[in-house]
């Protein structure tokens, strides 16, 4: 079975945030909730690099391990989803996640957190496929439609790859093999 993965090629990501806006607009994510964001390091200096980050859909996901009510689960294709009918908004997953992925709506009285929201790999949620409820709670279900997630579909430089892990890692490997050869290979200018 295919194992779904994201891969962001930092040599290609230009911090245009097309992925962020596509995700929010397409899934109706409220302002203040970020299923995906672009992180830039060394801004304005040589060595500036950007990377687009969302839920990594971990193989052995820490969020699943700590969830006290088993609201988070993993599909056979590796996509990690949350059942919003079950989630109690305790925030354990937020502490456990190494990438700061889980998001909680703010603003309720007594600091109460709403239920957790995160990247669904555009695979909707546990509600029936294409149902009104799925759309409202989780957004689009593009995987069920046979499409890649919106963020990767929108990527202007094809930096963000999404899909079957074997396929996207092959695409990435081919790219890397082509880079840094010829006149840009290390030592070229001194050796010839």
């Amino acid at each position: 079975m295919a194992r779904m993965k994201f891969l962001c090629d930092i040599e290609r990501c230009i911090d245009c945030k097309g992925c962020v806006v596509a995700c929010k607009e397409g899934n109706g994510v409220p302002v203040g909730i970020n299923r995906r964001r672009v992180i830039t390091i060394n801004q304005g200096k040589p060595g500036e690099k950007s990377v687009s980050i969302a839920c990594m859909h971990c193989s052995d996901a820490p969020c699943i391990a700590v969830c006290p009510v088993n609201a988070i689960y993993q599909r056979d294709d590796g996509i990690v989803l949350v059942n919003k009918d079950v989630c109690i908004g305790c925030g354990y997953c937020f502490i456990a996640c190494p990438f700061g992925v889980p998001q909680f709506p703010k603003g309720d009285t007594f600091g109460k957190r709403g239920v957790m929201d995160k990247c669904t790999f555009c695979a909707g949620g546990p509600a029936p496929n294409f149902s009104e409820k799925e759309r409202r709670l989780y957004g689009q279900n593009r995987i069920a439609e046979g499409k890649v997630p919106l963020c990767a579909a929108m990527c202007s430089t094809k930096a963000l790859l999404a899909g079957d892990g074997d396929v996207i890692s092959r695409i990435f490997q081919e790219r890397v093999a082509r880079r840094g050869s010829g006149t840009k290979a290390p030592g070229w200018s001194t050796a010839y």
Binding site: I14, K45, S156, T157, K158, K184
Partner: protein, 727 residues
């Protein structure tokens, strides 16, 4: 674009975005494509990865594009010509120029070299701040990696010598022999998906559509196309003189109202219509606002209330809500000269109306409805049909609406590398029929001036536009037609030839509406516009060869003395325009920092649309100015604090400091997309209820300086001075 058109015939991107995939080098000057043209980066990064092409980025600012460059060159704003002519000099003096190409297809080369000699690497270092060793190294890279492409945007053009900058870049490509080949060319990225289309339709004051100029002959040509009487058209104008006189430009129209500089028109301007135009993208905005408050009538036609709407404080404004691109239909022309059909997705929402409807209502009320729609029965197809029929100069005539739609609907059959369809209903044609598309069966011209293909299959020589012979200032006479042996395959004439005329007596290829002249030329395997040399010397320009001239407001008094600007120009698009009298060497003492502006990826143009989008406003909610760490520390300003920036024209803005080393210690950068604030004052109350954009801020253009190009009058927003203090 004037500089480019005056070099080889057409003022447009010569190759295409996709063709950059074949480049062995990409030289980008005054472009931040990573933010302004993100999708183009796909092709640029492909060249970098697959061809090992050096990506050279020349910019005063370490932009997001620079972050993707292999070679970043920091240049002092307004000194591009000096740098590029320095590269030309270095290339020629090392003998790296393409001698065969120059001998056969270029005019005025020795005269140009004579001028370029002044720009030795050391002189270039003094003017531009780029080390002499870097000038040499970049020149060597350009010489080794051929064909390379040259890309520029507003960073090259928005200067008092903008038209010299563009010509210098064209000369660089001619010297390297990079013209008319795949992977080469001058790829000028336009700012929207239809800017090339807007330029082609000459939404400008100095020409009728398709660059016909504004003379009797041009009016007569278009009157024939529109099927209206020339005498009737003439009767609509104040006088014959004004019918043929260049109008005000976008950059300076407001002087026609406030008249700080003397105008040469019989009346001040009394009304203005903004149709999809953001006034906060014009420099010295505080003066433009004065004009808005003085006009009898301001009409704003836009899907969103713009900064103009908020800035008008007199009760003289009418807002007509028009539709977005998704709520309307029609043809557009992209940066790469490609036509595309925009299909309608939804009917206009809320109260908005299609532009066609608004135009129709206006024309009815003006009382010339019958004349306006003579050839137009079906909107928008017949509009495209009519404009294509008349635009023979740029070969729009082969782009019928049916063909454009077929291409857009079958885009997947075109090859991403060559843009040519492989099979399918458009087999052999190039995507979007890049103009010139000479006949109804012509495949389009993917690369301009490419003599390796027959004209009927998308090839072309350089255009014969500047006569057949010229005598230079040194007495040398040169034949301006291409040398013998330079011709497209299948050409009847095996060398240079002038443009086609008198096939239908009294007409030429541009005015023969039967299109017989064009068809005859194509059947002979020849270009309707002739086969000539590209010019290094433009004798109709004040600087025949591009030379450095200091910006109007320069931080280098010593260089003002050495490289002064032009004398003032009295009637420059109907308004007195100061050059020499505005260039004051002492200005830098009070205004010590250089001010540049540019784009950010989250917002677009004047920002009315993008700042009204909650997600984009969330990503970029604040107006800011970039200031270097050292300068911020010297002025006692911390990141996120507010500061005042003031221009020599008494414009001032209160903006947030973004402390970053993207800019150097002498430069301040601001994005120009904001509006809704004015010199510290919040204009939120001036928007109609519920229409205030989510993000508002000071328009950067309040502090952009005086200074305009000598040819085009484009505003010099990338080279002003300012002062900064903590708010």
């Amino acid at each position: 674009m004037a500089g480019v058109a005056n070099t080889w015939g057409y003022g447009a991107m010569t190759n295409s975005m996709n063709d950059i995939r074949h480049s062995k080098l990409v030289f980008m000057l005054g472009s931040n494509a990573a933010e302004a043209h993100p999708v183009a980066l796909q092709h640029i990064l492909y060249a970098k990865e697959v061809n090992n092409a050096p990506i050279i980025v020349v910019d005063p600012r370490f932009t997001k594009l620079a972050a993707k460059a292999t070679d970043y060159v920091r240049i002092r704003p307004g000194t591009d010509t000096a740098f590029v002519m320095g590269l030309v000099n270095e290339i020629v003096s090392n003998g790296w120029h393409d001698k065969d190409f120059i001998q056969k297809r270029v005019a005025g080369f020795p005269e140009m070299v004579e001028v370029a000699k002044h720009y030795t690497p050391e002189v270039v270092e003094d003017i531009t701040g780029i080390p002499a060793s870097e000038v040499k190294r970049i020149a060597r890279l350009l010489a080794i990696h051929r064909p390379g492409t040259v890309v520029w945007c507003m960073g090259a053009t928005q200067h008092s010598i903008g038209s010299s900058n563009t010509r210098a870049l064209c000369i660089l490509q001619l010297v390297l022999g990079n013209m008319g080949v795949s992977g080469g060319g001058t790829n000028i990225f336009r700012g929207h998906d239809n800017v090339q289309g807007a330029t082609d339709m000459c939404v400008l004051s100095h020409s009728l559509p398709a660059y016909y100029g504004i003379k009797d002959g041009s009016w007569k040509h278009w009157c024939r196309v529109w099927d209206v009487d020339y005498e009737w058209m003439k009767s609509r104008f104040h006088s014959k003189e004004y019918m043929n006189k260049k109008g005000f430009t976008l950059a300076r129209w407001y002087q026609g109202v406030i008249q700080e500089d003397k105008i040469s028109q019989y009346t001040p301007i009394k009304a203005v219509v903004f149709w999809g135009c953001a006034s906060n993208s014009q420099s010295q905005y505080h003066k433009l606002k004065k004009a808005l408050d003085k006009l009898d009538l301001v009409v704003i036609i836009d899907p969103f209330p713009t900064m103009t709407a908020a800035a008008c404080e007199k009760d003289n404004v009418y807002l007509l809500p028009s539709s977005s691109q998704y709520e309307s239909e029609g043809s557009v022309t992209s940066s790469s000269r490609q036509f595309q059909w925009r299909f309608k997705v939804v009917d206009p929402v809320h109260d908005s109306k299609e532009d066609y409807w608004i135009m129709d209502q206006m024309v009815k009320r003006f009382g010339f409805h019958d004349k306006f729609y003579k050839n137009i029965k079906k909107i928008p197809d017949d509009i495209t049909r009519e404009l294509c029929k008349g635009s023979l100069t740029i070969g729009y005539n082969g782009a019928l609406p049916e063909r454009i739609k077929k291409h857009t609907l079958h885009w997947e059959t075109f090859d991403v590398d060559t843009l040519q369809a492989k099979g399918g209903p458009c087999d052999g044609e190039y995507y979007g029929l890049p103009w010139p598309c000479w006949t109804e069966t012509h495949p389009g011209t993917p690369i301009l001036y490419d003599i390796s293909k027959p004209v009927a299959k998308g090839g072309l020589p350089f255009r014969a536009r500047f006569g057949t012979e010229h005598t230079y200032w040194n007495g040398r006479k040169e034949n301006l037609l291409a040398a013998p042996g330079v011709y497209n395959p299948g050409s009847e004439v095996k060398g240079g030839y002038p443009e086609f005329k008198d096939i239908v007596p009294g007409t030429n290829w541009k005015t023969d509406l039967s299109q017989k002249t064009i068809k005859v030329a194509i059947s002979k395997g020849m270009a309707p516009f002739g086969n000539a040399r590209a010019r290094c010397v433009c004798w109709n320009f004040p600087d025949q060869v591009p030379v450095h001239r200091e910006p109007i407001h320069s931080p280098r008094p010593d260089l003002i003395a050495k490289y002064p600007t032009y004398p003032d120009k009295k009637d420059h698009y109907r308004v007195y325009t100061k050059f020499k009298s505005e260039q004051k060497p002492e200005l830098v003492k009070k205004f010590p920092y250089v001010l540049i502006t540019g784009r950010m990826v989250e917002h677009m143009g004047g920002g009315a649309e993008t700042r009204s989008n909650k997600y984009l406003a969330e990503l970029a909610p604040h107006m800011y100015a970039e200031i270097s760490t050292r300068l911020a520390n010297n002025l006692g300003i911390r990141d996120g604090e507010m500061m005042w920036i003031e221009s020599p024209e008494q414009g001032k803005v209160k903006v947030m400091a973004k402390v970053t080393d993207r800019v150097d210690d002498k430069t301040i950068f601001m994005p120009y997309h904001f509006g809704g604030m004015f010199m510290g004052q919040d204009l939120s109350g001036n928007y109609p209820d519920g229409c205030r954009p989510y993000a508002i801020g000071e328009p950067a253009n309040i502090v952009t300086n005086y200074g305009y190009d000598i040819i085009t009058q484009i505003q010099g927003t990338k080279e002003g001075l300012c002062k900064v203090e903590k708010a």
